[in-house]
Amino acid sequence: MNILEIKDLKVYYMTKNGPAKAVDSISFSVEKNKTVGLIGESGCGKTTTARAIMNFVKEPGEIAGGEIIFNGRNILNLSDGELRALRGKEITIVRQEAQNALNPVMTIGDQIAEVILEHERIDKKAAWQRAEKQLDLVGISHKRAKTFPHEMSGGMRQRGMIAIATACNPDFIIMDEPITGLDVIVQRQLLTLINDLRNRLNLTALFIAHDLSVVSETCDEVVVMYAGKIMEKADVVSLYQNPLHPYTKALIHSYPSIRGERRKLKSIPGSPPLLVNPPEGCRFHPRCEFATDLCRTVEPEIRRINGHSVACHIVK
């Protein structure tokens, strides 16, 4: 059963040079108790997609079309009140580079209890006890419930954010590069925690990262995004072992494995295009070593090949 279905979603940022098509007609779905990885270089529209799922696109961004069906309802048609009831309870998010995501003048315990108090009929004392439990769950002792964010390390703050995001048993949790910007050991520990929670709490999640090795052990399925478009979509093992799209291949080879496997790294030449005036045809063609005239003029449709969904003229 699909908890989330994104259909033909378009999100544009209205810049003075015209709309930047940060997310341009993407579709994918997430099944209950599954984790989907969303990967791609910086600036490919991953965060924009995440924010759209919470109907939380900020100015000058605008949802230009599509549907986001969550548990049978289109999130894009909900009222402000319905969205408030949804956010923090049914859908939660752990954000990228969230070092300042906690309120500096409130204790971590209060910040967890607060979201429980908002969404459940529960008294303050019970909410506080739940907050302490959450802290234990994410590997911060409940004895530290009264600490302030500035007394916590970067890794602990992110654990705190995870505690907030899982406090109300959400149906769906978005993790937008939750380990980016932290040091490697902390990254490892957080990944272990996330994996552990996924199994224990049966989470349904969207896990965003810029490279495949991070999502490889956490996700069931992976969506590869480039310049606002989906390039490839497949189950994680198949995608890792047998990538079809040239961009997916390049991406796999451009990042070191977080497990420390030795591999020759090859960075992708060039950088993602500006999305106000994206390249014609396939958006990846200026950086693709296999590009043909067809790639330069006609946008590839998504096709099913070997169990993958892939948008490429070359792949047979």
Partner: protein, 327 residues
């Protein structure tokens, strides 16, 4: 006990500042031109011997060092000197006036801060809206009008033309009011001078709170609060305002010094018998000991105000104890 340490540090700082002020205060008045004894006895018939006798009486015949030792000794006994003009101890002169100033200043500042914080918070919260623009232009206008100009304007409109409020003083002369009627009469007289201070001050508080609020609204933790599905009122109070008020509190300590300037202007325009008016008179009469006493009072009150602000800060900003704030 990081908090205690912090308070002790601030207290030491405050005490050192007060000592420095006392020394500076002594020095300034010795350097200032003009012979105070001559000012006191303008009558040319007063003989040089009589002037000399007065100098001896006030200790002005001694060397600078001797005068300083006298000054410190007297200060330690709570003796601020003897007013040339009023012919009685400076402490008494100030004591008679301080109540009137306190009631005026405290009322004005409480109204101004409350109003300023509320309007500034609304303005910053609704950044860019019509409400914001209205509040912002209003506060810019208010902020740019000096207290004395505002005072004269209020006096003209509400005193002379509309006849709504008295023109000056603190009570209706010879009214014989007592108890509640007296209090009402004082408040009645206080409206215009208080508002001339409030209107100037409120502009500053609005601007301050607004800019702080606008900055806070861009912070990550506001996004977090929104993504938690909290009600707007909760986000405003618990997340935005609590953080936005930190710089406002700091500045209210600094602003206290400017409040004094505003009070001198307002009291002078409205003949309010407080310390501000007294300052003006003491300058006019060249009453050095009195001025010296008033300056010391002003300086010490600014130091005390800042110390109180530091204390409040330890309560509202948890980062202060470890020095993580103000990086």
């Amino acid at each position: 006990m990081k908090t205690l340490q912090f308070i002790l540090k601030k207290l030491t700082g405050a005490l050192i500042t007060i000592v420095a002020i006392a020394i500076a205060n002594f020095a300034i008045f010795r350097i200032a031109p003009g012979d105070p004894i001559r000012m006191m006895f303008k009558d040319p018939r007063v003989s040089t011997e009589q002037l000399q006798a007065m100098r001896v009486k006030f200790g002005l015949d001694k060397s600078i060092g001797g005068q300083f030792i006298d000054y410190v000794k007297q200060l330690l006994h709570g003796n601020l000197g003897f007013s040339f003009w009023q012919k009685r101890p400076v402490a008494d002169v100030i004591g008679d006036r301080i109540g009137q100033t306190l009631i005026l200043v405290v009322t004005a500042l409480v109204i101004a801060t409350t109003l300023g914080i509320i309007l500034g918070a609304i303005s910053g919260w609704r950044n860019g809206s019509k409400t914001d623009r209205t509040i912002l232009s209003l506060s810019l206008v208010l902020y740019s009008i000096p207290t004395f100009a505002m005072g004269i304007l209020l006096l003209l409109v509400f005193g002379f033309i509309l006849l709504l409020f008295p023109l000056g003083g603190i009570t209706t002369p010879a009214s014989g009011f007592t108890g509640f009627m007296y209090l009402k009469d004082v408040l009645w007289h206080m409206v215009l001078p208080a508002f001339s201070i409030v209107l100037w001050y409120v502009g500053e508080y609005i601007l301050l709170t607004r800019s702080s609020m606008v900055e806070v609204m861009d912070q990550d933790y506001i996004v977090t609060a929104r993504s938690k599905g909290l009600r707007e009122s909760v986000i405003l109070r618990k997340h935005a305002l609590r953080n936005a008020l930190l710089p406002v509190v700091t500045l209210s300590g600094v602003n206290f010094a400017f409040a004094i300037a505003g009070v001198i202007e307002a009291e002078t325009v409205f003949s309010w018998p407080g310390i501000g008016r007294l300052t003006y008179d003491a300058v006019m009469k060249r009453d050095y000991p009195l001025l010296q006493g008033i300056f010391l009072l002003f300086a010490v009150s600014v130091v005390v105000a800042n110390f109180i602000v530091d204390l409040i800060y330890t309560r509202i900003d948890p980062r202060i104890k470890t020095g993580a704030a103000h990086e």
